[in-house]
Assembly symmetry: C2
Homo-oligomer: 363 residues x 2
Amino acid sequence: MTNPSLLILAGDGIGPEVMTEVRKVIDWFGAKRDLKFDVSEDLVGGCAYDKHGTPLHDDTMAKAQEVDAVLLGAVGGPKYDTLDFSVKPERGLLRLRKEMDLYANLRPAQCFDALADFSSLKKDVVAGLDIMIVRELTSGIYFGEPRGIIEEGNERVGINTQRYTESEIDRVARSAFELAMRRDKKLCSMEKANVMESGVLWREVVTEVAKDYPEVELSHMYADAGAMQLCRWPKQFDVIVTDNLFGDLLSDAAAMLTGSLGMLPSASLGAPMANGRPKALYEPVHGSAPDIAGQGKANPIACVLSFAMALRYSFDQGDEATRLEQAIEKVLADGYRTADLLGEEGKQPVSTSEMGDAIVAAL
Amino acid sequence: MTNPSLLILAGDGIGPEVMTEVRKVIDWFGAKRDLKFDVSEDLVGGCAYDKHGTPLHDDTMAKAQEVDAVLLGAVGGPKYDTLDFSVKPERGLLRLRKEMDLYANLRPAQCFDALADFSSLKKDVVAGLDIMIVRELTSGIYFGEPRGIIEEGNERVGINTQRYTESEIDRVARSAFELAMRRDKKLCSMEKANVMESGVLWREVVTEVAKDYPEVELSHMYADAGAMQLCRWPKQFDVIVTDNLFGDLLSDAAAMLTGSLGMLPSASLGAPMANGRPKALYEPVHGSAPDIAGQGKANPIACVLSFAMALRYSFDQGDEATRLEQAIEKVLADGYRTADLLGEEGKQPVSTSEMGDAIVAAL
Ligand SMILES: CC(C)[C@H](C(=O)O)[C@@H](O)C(=O)O
Ligand SMILES: CC(C)[C@H](C(=O)O)[C@@H](O)C(=O)O
């Protein structure tokens, strides 16, 4: 039997640094748990633009379609801010999501016990928090046509289109209900059905899908109220399902609330491939953090946890994923902290690679 | 000289209750400060639908266009959830905003000293917080065409359109820069220029307008990062300018952070009328809270503070507005609390009308 294949796209900024630590973890699983992967690497984002004039080369796109899972670091940086919209680093990531049809973006917002004090929220509001945001990732205003900047009369007009078909809503809703079934069986769907017709359809379809999951308690909330409630009492939620744009804002807010931004992974899943595994891309929620890139300050945990999600969702190795997550909890409990996890305390932070080594040691 | 005119649209849910208290305050200013208003009342939202079959009657719309300022309570309620989209209570409010062309929605997010403990955020994160969110209110995805639910192939598709012209961005940006000039001279503009062309145009136009305000320090932030930063360290902001939809979510999140949701007012301003006053509508940020309506539990302060904003922005009575704001601070310092401001403390809350009376007494 051949080994499962992983394509690593480390990307820009702190992407390569954190991915170096993930490699150590991957190697450990190969050596000690006989979980071997065929790992290849390629470029995405600004670094791909620098080399090829495009943030994602067609060959890289083709490779991503063939592998069992893609692991991505982060894309973007100030150097690329003035690039034309069509070749911005983000377009590479968006093309991957769209062409691999990764419609369900799973973003756990979890508060690690050792870090509860680090949130800007009061400890009792976030301690033990564990919610899962399921964000639709391949449609909505991110991809809808028409779009662009046109001339009209004497001025320019910027246009984007929010578009959701019933089947697009249906499939991501099913992913969310399935997750809720394996958790606390509570699902909250968020849109602006009071203002947007696409939200009206969203609510209708989610309500229809709910009939297939009678055990799950479904509620609906306007996205603005959702933003409020996430800030007020996030523990009221178990699974949240929402569209691409609302999911972008709400999951970032939720991630920040946990105080664990440098800690949070994500999985983007599509339909099953011939081998039964879903098309999949795993990436940390944090960005490329160009301000600290190359200084050994970055926290590799979010990216390592993204690999744990890969073990769980792509390779059916839930126990090994848990093993890795527990190693990280141990490292945190032992007091290891990268600079982002220290705040005012004045302790000496560990470097990116010291954190990676500590995780491997804890394994 | 005739008195300035006010149209009161109390609306649904707790709207009428809180507006009763505002009437006491208006009467006090008439009797004691010789600031008399010609006050008329009418219907908006669900109650207008109940009477007229439309959430805003044409006659009411015409009145709103003629008065010096509109004071609105809140609209909506579960009773109207199943109504057709076109006659939902919210459509009444949206029609007012659109036809009066109230493009600049000012939403102060302020943390009242007496309530800092009440936020879900740590006290040092929110104590003394005072930011102003300027939300574009008459364009974007709230109003863009095409919109609706159409049939395509075998399924339905929900469509909304985000559309911004240069002049729409220009005018709301100017409102925000003007406000920044009277505050700490810092403006942060939020969009998703990395994903949406309408955001690219937004960023360009705001950058252009900045040339007319060289004293204001302008920054740009992606809206998802903005949601994060609002949760992490909101005091980094002075004035924020953003589009209609982002403004909806971000201002609600910011309001919740302050712990003062029942306390926050808003002003929606348009172009100057013949008399020099801007077209204007004032309303609390909170909703119609149907769960507590009619029980004397609602906090009238947000609505009273909306009247204070009217004094300042429509009637050039900044000193009187400050007088009213100080009366409210005194009432809070004296320990008056409606139920929403009590949390677990187990103290006895004051009723809506006791709070109104206390404010008048403090005046
Ligand atoms: C980098 C950017 C295109 C992306 C998005 O907007 O989806 C990011 O913010 C995210 O949430 O993954
Ligand atoms: C009631 C609703 C239409 C409205 C909006 O979405 O603008 C409300 O949420 C607000 O923020 O004023």
